[in-house]
Symmetry: D2
Subunit: 255 residues, 4 copies
Amino acid sequence: MDSSETRRIFQALETFRIEVPSWGFANTGTRFGKFLQLAAASTTEEKFSDAAEVHRATGICPTIALHVLWDFPKGLASAKEITALTTRYGIQAGSINPNVFQDQIYKFGSFGNPDASVRSHALQHTKDSIEIARHLHSRDISMWFADGSSYPGTANIRQRKAWFEDGLKEVHSHLSAEQRLLVEYKPFEPAFYHTDIADWGMALHLARSAGPQGKVLVDTGHHYHSQNIEQIVAWLLSQEMLGGFHFNDRMGNKA
Amino acid sequence: MDSSETRRIFQALETFRIEVPSWGFANTGTRFGKFLQLAAASTTEEKFSDAAEVHRATGICPTIALHVLWDFPKGLASAKEITALTTRYGIQAGSINPNVFQDQIYKFGSFGNPDASVRSHALQHTKDSIEIARHLHSRDISMWFADGSSYPGTANIRQRKAWFEDGLKEVHSHLSAEQRLLVEYKPFEPAFYHTDIADWGMALHLARSAGPQGKVLVDTGHHYHSQNIEQIVAWLLSQEMLGGFHFNDRMGNKA
Amino acid sequence: MDSSETRRIFQALETFRIEVPSWGFANTGTRFGKFLQLAAASTTEEKFSDAAEVHRATGICPTIALHVLWDFPKGLASAKEITALTTRYGIQAGSINPNVFQDQIYKFGSFGNPDASVRSHALQHTKDSIEIARHLHSRDISMWFADGSSYPGTANIRQRKAWFEDGLKEVHSHLSAEQRLLVEYKPFEPAFYHTDIADWGMALHLARSAGPQGKVLVDTGHHYHSQNIEQIVAWLLSQEMLGGFHFNDRMGNKA
Amino acid sequence: MDSSETRRIFQALETFRIEVPSWGFANTGTRFGKFLQLAAASTTEEKFSDAAEVHRATGICPTIALHVLWDFPKGLASAKEITALTTRYGIQAGSINPNVFQDQIYKFGSFGNPDASVRSHALQHTKDSIEIARHLHSRDISMWFADGSSYPGTANIRQRKAWFEDGLKEVHSHLSAEQRLLVEYKPFEPAFYHTDIADWGMALHLARSAGPQGKVLVDTGHHYHSQNIEQIVAWLLSQEMLGGFHFNDRMGNKA
């Protein structure tokens, strides 16, 4: 590389920022159990405190991704407390992550659930999350869906796709001009047979059909064995549809 | 299922046809060698003869896919002989398969080759193939590309994507109204690092950007481990972009 | 097949029995959560009742695999209650499954834990389980280990192998003559980098070095993509080291 | 690491040698074809010349692996010419590789072929290769087998295992005291359904049952997706059964 290319890379690195996820500071585990760590964060304030420590050490982690169910137990009413934490710890709210997978009603899906009232519930939670994001001046609403089915023939894949198109269009219409709707893909887990948004091609279609502020979120750990992630990123860049990354490896799903 | 659904399935099966590929009757092998079979077809006529035998036994295989380089050694000038074979054996010409991977000039690709003269050569061969198909009243031009790269950083993936978009648009413009351009995807082989059309999402984009007669060809053997092929088919159907199938298993690439 | 072969297969099927696992009747889930089912068993008695129902319907499921921690909360003292259940429901106790993965002390392993006191605890639990099995006239002690490490370089793989050899030898010495020690393998989950007993070759070595009553347990869901399970079974048969099966598919770990 | 560990690593690196394979200097390709390179070696002498060049540049590649069919077209009678080449180029003969896969007679296998006369032919070729190795003072006879089957139910896996045990025992008996018999494993290619020596566990069994000079050869490219190669190496070391490496990546079989 000549020196101008080197300079360009170094300049890019100067402005490179990594957002830390609040849930990454908490205890976590596998389906076999959780090994508890004394130092794990157990409150949202402790997560902000930990994030501030990371930023102190690195200088490139000024924001924290927040999880609506876990960090905003009172919904929008919790936003004031979060704002106080951002001030106290010097860490800004990053992407806002709705949760449409944890409640028992989501057993057969959220945006793709055959039950209209469940889809409606998931849409409302997402709209509420957009409102929270607006309040905190967060640009990105980041959607990961656990939707899928565990046995062949139990789900109408094309119908669910249509429901996803409709739902994402609807929540997109609630975005402010500066907000973005990120659609993540994942080929496996927790569903065993099919996952509604399994790969970059599906996420691309849904992000694009949602509207101009829809983009694709690439989790580097969410790919098939031997899939070329760099190529997917290159394609999304060339389509101007790359929304961001989750930098997981695949060790946790190495099989 | 009630009886009307059963009836619908049986009716669909009544009209279901499978096309046999001419090259499937010849000797083939692996990179380690070829084990020769006395009964293997060695001429195009023998391939037609074998296909006719299959059709006699099954009643649902009335057409044969043809490979331009191998079955039309003189190009369009060979079409008359093929027409004679269709008459003699009662087997019609099916999809026409250009070959843009066998010649030494394709070492670094065909439609995605950095050398404009090689791209031009590949485009010309494809246009010639369209002409052959027109002559034989074949509906489908079926494109499989071996394009890719074998080491990280050696190919400009986004530039190659643009060349593919341009090339496919250009050949699409030579189609007659009743013809279709099928774009196949394959995640591996023969390239070792990246394959330009690696998955259904890439094939979908390129088929669609080529023009309204571009469709995706799904080879059931061209997927990653654990990928849900049914779902891909369902998505392509819902986009009206499913062009056809190659019914391979993955035993030949089982690793 | 001639009729004598057919007869042999039918005769084999006549005596084929499938054991149901008690934990299969309970609610279960993924790391993302559990969807609760009203009809799920919540006590060991309910599990026996469910198993009896399965046996009534099939006639080939007369035994139930039991899990020491979950079905024997008071250890050997619970055995009397289990015996009562076997009488009440007409279902016999099948394989006995020690649990050396659930407690917090097992964070860095059980038989392979660098801490001698943890290894000792795991060995004692296994010996207790053998005692329980003896009391219930159960032939098989079935060992699955979650032991492994989640980052390269954090575990001494050869040392852990030696600890496993020692531990399995020790527990084998507590078996009665009619008992067997089954060693299961699994290439992934819950550890992220290495699993101490990852494949059939490792299980074979450890089962054999334990002693003559050590055998390998093949879980059909515990293999790499594209691995030939039939071949592994054939090899274990030819070594007289096949101890039994767990009939899982790999949908739950399809990635 | 303290300085004594560092020193130990550097000392180990000082004596580390890599052997180059003669066939690596020739043109090679995939089942789709070969792209020819002008500079590729086309004679054994050119391969020695290339190997000498590599050794001049690196200082750690003093030997060349030789392939009996390709480098010894006249069998033992070619050994004199090879000795002349070792003198001329200052490169010694390394491991000797029999070829029991290329001839048409090996369609259904070599050591595992159901036809006794084919097995006998393969054994004789291997004994001849041992003789060649002895003549060249090569320590290692390196065996890779393409044996396998392409459809379920076509091969008797246990019988083939027995033939492999017998055959390897027999050729082992022809080794001189300082020679070793290396058994390589590979889970895929060229067979499509089963490969007789598919993994390290199978190679370990066969190498050990052959005799005390049997060892396992680990090709780093011959593993399933996500298999932990380091662990396999650690286990083989602990059993004193690690014979050597082939340093392939898995790009060529990345699917």
